[in-house]
């Protein structure tokens, strides 16, 4: 959304909110409306009534030396008007608190918990104010700038007794496990939250409900997701997802690395769509610094992003079918995926964590053998999609297993911020590539499939169709690929070419600086939404004039999509849980970051 749009909205809101709101020029190019803390609920309601129906994110930034210190950026999208709105709330250092909006947008629930966890901001009226990514007994709030980055010695089996786990509640004179035992009895801990009330004899109550602890080590939770499922027979009566097992502090780590180095972290978030993440990150950084990638790089980015989408969908299809007991599609999908990974290896030397798309363009141009390999893939791929469909699409067992299972109503999907094919399966053809195009997607001809029922089968059909549409986009991009540079010639970001270094001392110094310290970004914030295979991915990046991101907030699609899981599982069977988890296509690295 342009600054102008924001200003217009601001003028409208002004009539109602008067002096309680003001206009901010951050993030760059878009701007935002700063709302005073007490009226944020009201403003959220107003925004929702202004057709901002899709809740995306609340990002926090800790401006340690400014006052007010905390800066919360709420991001909501209007799927109808194809635009989005940022509004900010600034909070003071002493007892930062703001009203919860989780009853207006259901999806705010987890985002608010994350802010509570990471920044220690409390949300009044939040239904479930617990930590979400860090363990419940964690001390401090990691994303605060004054949180010490000194690390803690890790307990391995060899030194388990020698290391005192600082992160557990202090238990002087007791062994390392005492803390955990204390945790078991802590009110509000997971085990207590869902444990059925015990009868007089200490046995579970007469309902005969059973708590099934699914994961974090379970074959089909697609990583280290833990679900506490309350079962009545095999019927699911309640679900409580527990995440954070793969939390690696990527957002915090990025603050200690230069922009180029932080790029490599984005590969590792959604490890099935590394190039999509690279692209989202690079676009945001480029916007912050104010450079643009050259045309060849942009076209290649589209090709690579679509290849990534295809290979991500192939992993989804294979594992989804495997979860439902169909073994063979998995191997067929991985056959094609390997072809794509071979191409990635060809261009970057790495099969998965390529970091090939970087701020300023691409790491380097693709080698000569890339295009023939791509051409060969393009030739075989459509028939291969047909092969997968033969095994599944009209298979009666597959239909029975997926149709009407894991339903998600469109309103719920929007309020929870469910994006990607999981949203489109619920009936809305909303795709950032069409709604707010980047990388010139508006010039490509492709269609956004949408389902009608919001069940597992419709999500399946949507993703299968997306495979074909991505193929179509790549074909168009191949036709418009022309020789040219693949990196911007803006010297702010890209070091001078090698041949200049022999003649020019200044170039040598410049090269040295960019290679060692990195390029600097101005004060400001930037945000570019993109669509990866999983949905809406955007990086909200704040710069402070240094070569490191002051804050890198990743709004990841899996996090939001997973949040809607309990809604989809309600009333299903255990087998449906497996089908539904597969159908929302989460990657736990993307959820926990």
């Amino acid at each position: 959304m342009h600054l102008e749009d924001t200003r217009r909205l601001f003028e409208q809101a002004r009539e109602r909110f008067g002096e309680d709101i003001s206009l901010s020029d951050r993030p760059s190019g878009e701007g935002s409306i700063v709302v005073s803390g007490p009226r944020v609920r009201e403003f959220t309601q107003w925004a929702r009534s202004q057709s901002f129906d899709f809740f995306a994110d609340i990002g926090g930034i800790d401006y340690l030396f400014e006052s007010p210190r905390f800066d919360l950026t709420y991001t909501v999208y209007s799927t109808g008007q194809k635009r989005h709105l940022h509004y900010k709330v600034k909070l003071d250092e002493s007892a930062p608190a703001v009203d919860s909006i989780s009853d207006i947008y259901a999806g705010a629930n987890w985002h608010e918990r994350e802010l509570l966890d990471m920044f220690g901001i409390s949300f009044n009226g939040h239904p479930d104010p617990r930590r979400i990514l860090m363990p419940e007994h964690w001390r401090g709030h990691p994303l605060r700038k004054d949180y010490p980055i000194n690390g803690e010695q890790v307990q391995f089996s060899g030194n388990f007794g020698d290391v005192e786990p600082q992160t557990l509640p202090p238990a002087p004179g007791q062994d390392a496990f005492a803390g955990w035992q204390a945790l078991e009895t802590t009110p509000g801990s997971y085990t207590q939250l869902i444990e059925p009330a015990a009868g007089p004899d200490g046995q579970p109550d007469a309902d005969g409900r059973m708590i099934l602890n699914m994961g974090p080590q379970h074959p089909s939770t697609h990583g280290v997701l833990r679900l506490l499922i309350e079962l009545d027979g095999e019927n699911i009566t309640r679900t409580l997802p527990d995440i954070g097992y793969l939390h690696t502090g990527i957002e915090k780590t990025a603050e200690t690395l230069s922009f180029q180095q932080a790029l490599t972290l984005t590969d590792r978030m959604d490890y099935l769509s590394p190039l999509g993440n690279n692209l989202a990150y690079s676009l945001s950084v480029e916007k912050l610094v104010g450079v643009e990638a050259p045309p060849r790089a942009t076209v290649l980015r589209v090709i690579l992003a679509e290849l990534t989408r295809i290979q991500s969908h192939l992993v989804w299809l294979g594992t989804h079918a495997l979860d439902m007991g169909a073994m063979s599609p998995f191997f067929y999908c991985f056959r094609e995926r390997d072809q794509i990974l071979d191409m990635f290896e060809m261009i970057s030397g790495v099969r998965m964590m390529t970091s090939f798309i970087c701020p300023g363009g691409l790491r380097e141009d693709v080698p000569d053998e890339f295009m023939p390999a791509l051409e060969q893939f393009m030739r075989v791929f459509p028939s291969r999609v047909g092969e997968y469909e033969t095994l599944l699409t009209k298979n009666p067992i597959w239909l029975e297993r997926t149709r009407g299972v894991g339903r998600l109503a469109l309103d719920d999907a929007l309020a929870y911020g469910v994006s990607g094919a999981s949203l489109r399966g619920s009936g809305l053809a909303w795709d950032i590539r069409k709604a707010e195009p980047y990388c010139g997607y508006e010039t490509y001809e492709f269609e956004i499939p949408a389902g009608t029922h919001g069940d597992v089968y419709d999500r399946y059909l949507c993703r299968i169709e997306e495979l074909r549409q991505s193929h179509k986009i790549i074909r168009q991009a191949m036709n418009r690929l022309e020789p040219g540079p693949v990196q911007t010639n803006d010297r702010k970001m890209i070091p001078p070419p090698k041949n200049e270094l022999d003649n020019s001392m200044e170039s040598l110094i410049h090269h040295f600086l960019i290679s060692t310290i990195g390029f600097t970004a101005p004060h400001g914030e930037a945000h570019v939404p993109t669509e990866t295979g999983r949905g809406l991915l955007s990086f909200y990046i704040a710069g402070d004039g240094s070569p490191k991101p002051y804050r890198m907030r990743a709004r990841t699609p899996s996090f939001a999509n997973l949040q809607a899981l309990p809604v989809m599982l309600q009333g299903g069977l255990v087998a449906d849980a497996v089908a539904t988890i597969g159908s929302i296509d989460i990657v736990l690295g993307d959820v926990d970051r």
Partner: protein, 375 residues
């Protein structure tokens, strides 16, 4: 008398040895076949073509430590694997695998025991096999095991019904419960039971797939849902016993279907070579089950029950009724009339099923044309 004893002993040992040595071969075959279907190579490191891989696996499992997890019910936990393997092996005792041969002037049936209630015996033993799963699931003190045990017991008990009903039709046709007699009657009818009992054959094929706990009916051990079901907590030799029991069961079922429907050891054409045709038929079934496993997704628990109770039981009842009526009314031509009637009935059942599926499909028009905010 002594001769009979010695002969029985030799036959018992031979059958045991052959069936047990089938198991590693079948494991290898399944892994190899499924691998080929999935564009993989399959085991190929141990021995020629990886043939020794299952042996190596078995050795590894046997020398592993026996683990009793805390909280298990020790006696039943210990007994359960045996309960699942022994009935499978014992059931093979009544399977005739060749026409009687003459040794030292005496006729020897190629069958460990020619029990005159052979069919009943097999049904009884296959019901016993449920206990293995139930006890394992219950005694393991694990929720996944419990779910697996529950699923398996419900599934096996439900599917015994269509199995029993289909077998009763065969009994009507044969007039005897002896498996030897079933084979002989097929010879005397001049037509294998698969024709007059076509629907029964299909029902039995599906039901035994469920009874065997094999994909797409492997709910009791659905690895993506309940980890490994009732044998989640088992390791080492006890796990191997479950695993072997499964494959022995497969051989037994394949042999049983061969005897009941495909004329047992009889040659479809050409000279009768002892054992050859029997083995070929058995393997045809086993390969079919393997192929099915590589192709289909798994059905859901409630759908499995619905299939059993709402489709297979009524269909097998219809088949039984038709068989009884035609046998009574048809006189000497009963078998020929049945051959036509059975196929007609099978087609009818198929059409009804297809209509039911189409009715359900109609409510789902699939993807809407791209519309809304995106296009």
């Amino acid at each position: 008398m002594l001769f009979d004893l010695i002969a029985s002993f030799i036959k018992a040992v031979l059958v045991f040895a052959v069936v047990m040595s089938f198991v590693p071969f079948l494991i290898w075959l399944e892994r190899k076949l499924v691998a080929w279907m999935q564009q993989r190579i399959g085991p190929n490191r141990t021995g020629p073509f990886g043939l020794l891989q299952p042996i190596a696996d078995a050795v590894k499992l046997i020398i592993k430590e026996n683990i009793f997890p805390s909280g298990v019910e020790k006696i039943t936990y210990f007994l359960a694997p045996m309960m699942s393997m022994i009935p499978a092996l014992a059931a093979f005792a009544v399977i005739p695998f060749g026409s009687p041969v003459r040794i030292m002037g005496r006729t020897v049936n190629l069958q460990v025991a020619d029990v005159n209630i052979g069919i009943l015996y097999i049904l009884a033993l296959s019901s016993l096999a449920v206990y293995g799963a139930v006890l394992a699931g219950w005694s393991s003190n694990n929720k996944y095991s419990l779910l697996g045990g529950l699923r398996t017991s419900a599934q096996m008990i439900s599917y015994e019904l269509p199995i029993g009903l289909s077998v009763v039709s065969i009994v009507l046709l044969t007039g005897s419960l002896s498996l030897n007699e079933v084979v002989r009657s097929q010879a005397s009818h001049g037509i294998w039971n698969i024709f007059p009992q076509f629907l029964g054959f299909i029902i039995l094929l599906i039901s035994y797939n469920a009874e065997l706990n094999r994909a797409p009916f492997d709910l009791g051990e659905a690895e993506s849902e309940i980890v490994a079901g009732y044998h989640t907590e088992y390791s080492g030799f006890r796990f191997a016993m479950f695993y072997m029991g499964e494959y022995v069961n497969m051989v037994t079922v394949a042999a049983l279907v061969t005897v009941l429907f495909l004329g047992g050891w009889q040659a479809p054409f050409g000279p009768e070579i002892p054992l050859l045709w029997f083995l070929i038929k058995i393997f045809a079934f086993i390969l079919l089950y393997m192929w099915v496993r590589a192709t289909f997704p798994r059905v859901r628990y409630d759908q499995l029950m619905a299939l059993g109770w709402k489709i297979l039981v009524p269909a097998s009842l219809a088949n039984l009724a038709m068989t009884a009526v035609i046998i009574v009314l048809g006189g000497p031509n009963a078998v020929r009339i049945l051959s036509v009637g059975s196929i007609v009935l099978a087609v009818l059942v198929g059409l009804v099923l297809k209509a039911a599926v189409a009715l359900r499909t109609k409510s789902a028009p699939g993807l809407a044309p791209p519309a809304g905010a995106g296009s």
